[in-house]
Structure formats: structure tokens, C-alpha cells
Amino acid sequence: MSTRKYLYIPRRQVIRGLLATAAFGATSKLWTGCASTPSDTQAGAGGEASPVSDKPLVMGFIYVGAKDDYGWNQAQAMGAAEVAKLSGVKIVEQASVPETKEVQEVMRNMIEQDGATILFPTSFGYFDPHILQVAKDYPEVQFFHAGTLWKEGLPDNIGSYFALVDEGQFIAGRVAAMTSKTGKLGFVAAKPINPVLRNINPFILGARSVKPDIKMQVIFTGDWSLPVKEAEATNSLADQGIDVVAMHVDSPKVVIETAEKRGIYSSGFHAAQNDLAPKGYLTGTAYKWGTIFKNYVEMIQGGKTLMNGGIPHQVIGSLKEGYIELAPFGPAVSEEAKKDAEDVKAKIIDGSMMVYKGVVKDNTGNVEIPAGTAYKITDPKLTQIDWLAEGVIGKTS
């Protein structure tokens, strides 16, 4: 009909157009960032990216969310800000990068355009397949990933770093137990998986090491960032007479602010959140990624790399190494509790006190760690924890 007339384009013209576009695409290097043509760019980029001593060390940091969310990303970004101050280091950052192909594009751009030779893709889900893919294409660039996912046989230029929070949460649990008046603690968690359980369990173990009959109600919201549900969970816990809430979600802001509104205490996670709850914030485990990042910079500036074996592929630490710290105590924490926390911290650092020391039972009565057995927090056995410790009201499934 009438519409056909002005939409009609000759077939030859279409073919000609397509050919011209293809030729242009092939000759120009316009699309070098695209994942479809990695083999083209690999050689050139590898040569360019090789470290030159008088140039600053360019480090790229990639975050899955906003970098001021009072959570995981903020903790990483604070570490990045610390290394940025070092001489001879330049950082490039990109926030809110989803765990999809997009992160590969971001990594390639940082390498190609910003000349980054060190990359810190900080989210768990970036690792497989994204880092693995890009690391193969750029063997000269070093990739450091937050987690414990590096294994023998993976590309040589990938390393994992991680900070274990068990000891920090153990002390935070003691502080919570000493501050609680009702003897009931609450915990808002995202999902019942091992890293979260290794936050919940040390917290109750710590609390019970002070008050052996204290109970903790846990609520799983189901996902990492569900602000409304987190607020509901905190309110429900407060309704039940719980007066200290701890959490393991992406951004603890909602839980801490809701707790403050309800006039109950909160124990933080990821970063120090004292200014969110000037009255009710007790303390909490805060990551100090800056320590790890600085160590890396030192080693790299000293000529060590992952590839030449100078840098270990797995870096892991806790209180002793300074990879975590306790957030500053809030006003509700008594002098006695503060002193106790410092004492316990010293004991944990010198090894005379351990978090996972038998007898530890789960909340159905099974003995998980028998008497006389104690696990160091780096023990691989602990990565298999799938139970909730005695005193926790809740289920993992």
C-alpha cells in the first residue's frame, strides 16, 4: 500500500551498505573494546601494558554498587582511596558495574584506555567467567579478586585476597551481649550461605561466651539488597523485644537507621557506621582493605608480580594482619565492655583465644566441633559450615 513506497530501499543498496559497514568495522580499531574481537587486540595491548618504571602504577577498581553505600563497596573504595595517596600510584574507579559482560568491557577499557596494569574487580560474581576470560587475554595485567576463589590451574595473573570477619564478629557479639538489657539479640541476614553463617555464628559464640543463655533470632530476607524487607525485619525483631540487631546485607544503612528509630542498639558490618546511629550503634567489624592494597603496591613496586611468583595467589588475614578492625565504640558501650573487647582482641591476636573452639553445638543439638578441638579461622573445614550455632533461632533451609 502507500507505506511500501517510501520504505522501499533497493536490495543492492542494502548489500552495498552492509559491505561498507563491515569493511569499516574491520579496518578501523573502533570496536577494540568489544568482546567479539579480543584476539585482534590482545598482542598489541599486552605490549603496551607492560610495566614501565617511570610511569605511575595505574590501578583499576570496579565496584558492583555505589561506592558510598556504607557497605562492602564503600569498604573497598576506602581502601582504594588509601592507596591513591601513595606516591607513584594512580587509581581509576568505576562503580555500579553489574556482574555481567559489562564488567569485562569495563576491565578492557581500563586496560586499553587508562593503561591499568593492576585490576581490582571487587565483587564476588565478577570472578567466573569474567575475570577468567579477560585475564587470559591480558597475561601482563594482574587481577586481584576479593574472595578465596583462586585455585591451582587458573591463569597465573589472578590472585585472591580476603579478610575473615569471624574474630571481629566474635568480639562484637561479646559487646552486644554485655550491652543488651533484654538478653535477646537479632540478626538480619540476606541468605543462609557460608560467608553469612560465618558472620552469624561467631556473633552468637561471642555473645554466649559472656552470657551462656543468650538467644539470637535470625531473619533471612532472601537477597542482598531489599530495603523494605530489611526495614520490616528490623521492626519485627524490635517488636519481639530484641534490643541489639546485627546484620549481613549489602548495605547496612536501612537496618541501622531503623534500629535507631526504634530506640534499640545495632552492631554494624563492612564499614564503620557510627554516624548513622549516634545513640544506638555499638561497634562492628569493618574491613581494612587499605592494608591489603598497600601491601600489594609495595610488592609490585618492588618488582614482584603474581606471574613471577613474588606475590602469593591467595592472601588471607584477619585481626592479626590488620585486615579487619572494630568500628569505634558507640556511647552505649560501657567502659567495662570496651576494656573487655580490647583484652579479647589482644588474646585473639596472640593466639591464646580462639573463636571456633569445642564444644560447639549447632542449634539442633548436634556437636559440630567436639571438645578439645579448635580450628584456626583459616582452616578449610570452616568453609563447610552450613549450620547455625546453638542459641540462634532460625534455620538454614
Binding site: G65, A66, V218, I219, V228, A233, A238, K261
Partner: protein
């Protein structure tokens, strides 16, 4: 005594309080969508509008109090107003685009979801961390000595406003001349044209007014409950509210009930877990969706199409 546990009473109280706290965004967005759909257009983009509203309300409330010297009692209200206006701008874009010849309003709506949330995320970056002054609440729980009850009865003035808008809108559709125009345009554009009503203008106004309401819904999220700005603040509530309108059969009063129902359903999972019921928590968390499906199945009939649907809904203007 005051801090005593509520035990099982915590569940109904939690759900009741959750209803009062959480249903305002659903209410505003579904009323806005109801108005839009009554005029024969669908605006799926209200999810994006909700996010933009939440972000701009939070940003203005914060900037007003911290940077511009607006009294901190006033700046949240300014934020609400700006949220509505930001919604209107997005509504204007949608209204203009979706009334172009041969443009599908669903497709435009999806584009507007992405655009609205993109705008909100882009401008919202600096406001994730700061604390903005919150809207005041109306405390009617003073008679009770239990803090749980007191906290449950802290009602947002916006929620009350929404509750009043619902019957007002029903009355508007039923008994006013303009309401008749809207219904005519939505049900039978030809008849409206014969009446001498400009279809384009009526739809344009309806979409813009609806987006204004959705923007205010966003302000409820960021300035009342949960009271923060983060990129996951809506978690799909805008889209759910659009679906609510179908559930409510395009009736503003039923939109109110449906919103209350959805708001309360969000609290079921956490409230039950707080008293130690762990079994089937995934099901409880999915309660709103399961209940919607159930009600849809119960109320559907193979013999007739959805009753109450505007006749020209979703037709593409030539």
C-alpha cells in the same frame, strides 16, 4: 513491661504495621496508573518514575536542609513536591512519545523504566550516603504503653493523603464532567471525539497527573519508609503497582484495598520469622505474588473478558 516481647501478637501487629508503613508507594503508583489507564494509555514507566521520585525527594530534602538553609521541617515537603514535578516531566515525555502515530505505549513504557531509573541512578550517586531529613509522622499510638504499638501507629501524612485521594478519584470518575471525559476517551475515543473532547489533551493530562502521583509514591519510599535512597529502593514495587491496577479492576477504591494488601504482605515473611517460624519462608516472601495469582484465578471467568477494562486500553493511535 514496656520492652516485653509480644510473642505471637507480634505477627498480626507486624503485618498491620507493615500495611501502614509499606503500602503508601503502592497506593500512589496504582492510583496514578489507574488514572492513566482510565484514559486508555498504559504507563509501565511508573517504575522509573517511582525511582526518580524517590531520588529527587531525597536529594532535595537533603540539599534543602544542608546546603540551601531551608528549615529541616520544610525541606522534606519541598522534596515531595519536587518528586511530583520530576514525575510530571517523565510523564510528559511518555505522554508525548506514546501518542505519536503507530507508537506502542508498552514499548515506550519499558523505555521509560530504563530511562527513569537511569536518571535516578545517575543523579542519585552523591545522595546514597548522606542522611536527609525525613517527613514527620502522625503519632496516634500515644495511648499505648507498648513501644511496638506506638511505633506501629506512626503514620505518614502521605499515606493519609493517599487514602483520601482514592475515594476522591472514584468520585471524580463517576460524578464530574472531567471524569466523564477521561472515561469517554478511555472507553470509546470516537465518542469522545464526537463530544468535542481532544483525546490527545485528555490523555496527556491524565498521564502527567498519574506520573505526579507516582513521583510522590517515590517520596514515600525515600522520605518515610524505609527512609533512604539506594538504587534497589523500589525493588520492583512500581511494576507491581501497575499490575495492581488490573487486580483492582481499574477502580480507585479497590486500588486502595489492593495496595494495603500488598503492603501488608511484604511484612508477612519477616514477621513470621521473628517469632521463629522458619518453614517455608521463601513461600511467605513470595506471598504477595502467590496471592495475586490465586485471586486472579478465582476471579477470572472463561465466559467474559476482564470487567472494568477501559475499552480503548492499549490501542495504538494511528
Amino acid at each position: 513491661m514496656a520492652a516485653e516481647a509480644l510473642g505471637w501478637w507480634g505477627v498480626p501487629l507486624g503485618i498491620f504495621a507493615g500495611t501502614l508503613r509499606g503500602s503508601a508507594p503502592f497506593l500512589f503508583v496504582s492510583l496514578g496508573e489507574c488514572l492513566t489507564e482510565k484514559s486508555g494509555k498504559i504507563n509501565l514507566g511508573l517504575e522509573g518514575t517511582l525511582l526518580t521520585g524517590a531520588m529527587s525527594a531525597y536529594a532535595i530534602s537533603y540539599l534543602g536542609a544542608e546546603k540551601w538553609g531551608v528549615p529541616s521541617a520544610l525541606s522534606p515537603w519541598l522534596g515531595v513536591l519536587v518528586a511530583g514535578c520530576a514525575g510530571m516531566v517523565l510523564g510528559l515525555i511518555h505522554a508525548w512519545l506514546s501518542q505519536q502515530p503507530k507508537v506502542n505505549d508498552i514499548a515506550v513504557g519499558i523505555a521509560m523504566i530504563i530511562f527513569g531509573s537511569g536518571i535516578a541512578f545517575f543523579f542519585g550517586k552523591p545522595f546514597i550516603q548522606p542522611k536527609a531529613p525525613q517527613l514527620p509522622t502522625i503519632d496516634i499510638g500515644g495511648w499505648s504503653t507498648m513501644p511496638a504499638v506506638q511505633s506501629a501507629l506512626k503514620i505518614s501524612p502521605l499515606f493519609i493523603l493517599g487514602v483520601f485521594i482514592a475515594p476522591l478519584m472514584a468520585w471524580f470518575f463517576k460524578s464530574t464532567r472531567w471524569g466523564l471525559f477521561v472515561r469517554a476517551v478511555g472507553d470509546s475515543p470516537d465518542a469522545a471525539l464526537a463530544m468535542g473532547v481532544s483525546i490527545k489533551k485528555v490523555r496527556m493530562l491524565c498521564i502527567i497527573a498519574g506520573s505526579f502521583l507516582a513521583g510522590i509514591g517515590g517520596a514515600c519510599l525515600s522520605l518515610y519508609y524505609p527512609g533512604i535512597w539506594s538504587e534497589s529502593i523500589s525493588s520492583g514495587q512500581g511494576l507491581m503497582a501497575v499490575a495492581l491496577v488490573i487486580f483492582a479492576r481499574w477502580n480507585p477504591i479497590q486500588c486502595l484495598w489492593a495496595s494495603l494488601f500488598f503492603g501488608g504482605a511484604q511484612a508477612i515473611g519477616p514477621a513470621l520469622q521473628a517469632v521463629g517460624i522458619e518453614q517455608g519462608r521463601y513461600l511467605f516472601n513470595a506471598a504477595p505474588y502467590v496471592l495475586t495469582l490465586l485471586i486472579m484465578i478465582i476471579t477470572c471467568s472463561p465466559k467474559k473478558t476482564l470487567s472494568g477494562a477501559p475499552g480503548a486500553l492499549g490501542t495504538i493511535s494511528g
